[in-house]
Symmetry: C2
Subunit: 270 residues, 2 copies
């Protein structure tokens, strides 16, 4: 099944546009957990158990695991194995390199980690992204218009007719021959999000920035989803994971996930 059709199915089945971002930080988790044998995984397991009813997807940010070396990589692998099968499991890795190297990154995320989708940086062009696109059931979200301030530095570079991020979007549309391509577009730019939706009506969007980054949830749902209220998932990481740093952290994360899922559904009136 093409990735995009599976994403539609998951959003419908789970009645959710929510992606929970597992940007797990040792220093922010409850003190009691830090002394466990695999604290990163112990924390993630509790968060997944508490938030799974409300999430259509999980986005595991590889940086937060690599920072802990071998132990971190083990926790990354265990986290992917623990994620339920009825959600989209995204490796937020932002990889991209020449063809023979991208082939190895694709193997790492799809085969070793078992991710359903990956985030890829498209700067190196067509031959650098092809190895990620070989399997129709594996999704690739390409960095297009990111949620941070620095997105203005290069992504808004313009040839007078279009900006770089628009050119990226059009190029991704061409790469989408197997129905497995999407875009990363930040909720911090709702207006541009609407324009991207018109430019690429069928591509799924992975939309970060609705939580701690302060993006406009309601507008970005109205403008980011397609005409059926599909093709977009909204990521929140810190606002859910660290809703509380007390013993009840998991229950607090569950409540935060439920509230975000409901706010997304309420905003999704199509």
């Amino acid at each position: 099944m093409q990735f995009v059709l599976r994403l539609d199915e998951v959003i419908r089945n789970k009645k959710s546009l929510l992606c929970v971002g597992l940007d797990t930080v040792m220093e922010k988790m409850p003190v009691a957990l830090r002394s466990q044998p695999d604290p990163l995984f112990a924390f993630n397991k509790a968060i997944i158990d508490a938030t799974a009813p409300y999430a259509a997807a999980y986005k595991v940010n590889t940086a937060f695991y690599e920072a802990y070396g071998l132990e971190g990589w083990r926790a990354l692998e265990r986290t992917f194995r623990y994620l339920p099968a009825d959600v989209i499991r995204i490796a937020d890795a932002k990889r991209g390199d020449i063809g023979n190297t991208s082939k190895m990154y694709a193997r790492a995320v799809f085969e070793q980690l078992g991710a359903d989708a990956v985030t890829v940086n498209p700067l190196m062009g067509t031959d650098s992204v092809q190895p990620f696109l070989e399997q129709e059931e594996k999704g690739v979200f390409f960095l297009c218009l990111t949620s941070n301030a620095g997105s203005a530095d290069f992504q808004h570079f313009s040839d007078g007719k279009e900006k770089l991020y628009e050119r990226i979007a059009r190029q991704v549309q061409k790469w989408n021959v197997r129905g497995n391509c999407g875009l990363v577009a930040g909720a911090t730019h709702p207006q541009e999000l609407g324009a991207l939706r018109k430019l690429t009506p069928e591509l799924p969007f992975l939309i970060p920035g609705i939580g701690a980054q302060g993006g406009d949830l309601e507008r970005s749902v109205r403008l980011g989803t397609d005409e059926n209220g599909l093709r977009a998932i909204y990521n929140s990481s810190r606002a859910i994971l660290f809703a509380s740093d007390g013993e009840e952290f998991a229950a607090a994360a569950g409540r935060a996930a439920q509230e975000t899922q409901q706010a997304l559904q309420k905003a999704n009136v199509k």
Copy 2:
């Protein structure tokens, strides 16, 4: 000591512009090695021992280790620990993300792996690269004009005055307040390499593409080094690592490294 000054010192001391790329692939190594407990590291150790007299730098491509999961990450860590202290140890990771994530990637490469330098993708702009630039002794090579065919897709996008890769180069110059920034520019584009050298006379270049990718070694040395014959290192991976797949693979790699180092020195007439 600023990274750029240390690089100058290493190039002078080792009389070498050669960077050996450790893009290690299980299927290409001698059959006898594959049954060892940690074949990736066993292979790298033999290669490092054989090539160290001729190398100013080693570039370890993280993809090739991530592709083997936990075992691969262990080999990656062991390889960095084994590299000699008198060379530049580069993590070729092509990372880059929003600030709080890049901070974790910087921790992964500089603290966990102990790399002296890292390759970074600048597409997400200033705040995404700052966490990599905090220590003057740690170098950052930014993707600018890559060696592959796909580099034409976005890196040549132009606003009529300059191309994206030139804008990246000028921006990296601004980021270079601690003498720790450099550019990745492919030997497959010697003419543009010369123009980049003029645009950013002081930045060190990491130049891939002279080996299996077929770039023009002589021209790219003449045009890529600075007026003192410094500030550029030339990477070769496959042509050295897999010079032979027989039992004498390490000796063959040593000879290939020596020949490349000599060819680089011969071309570096400044």
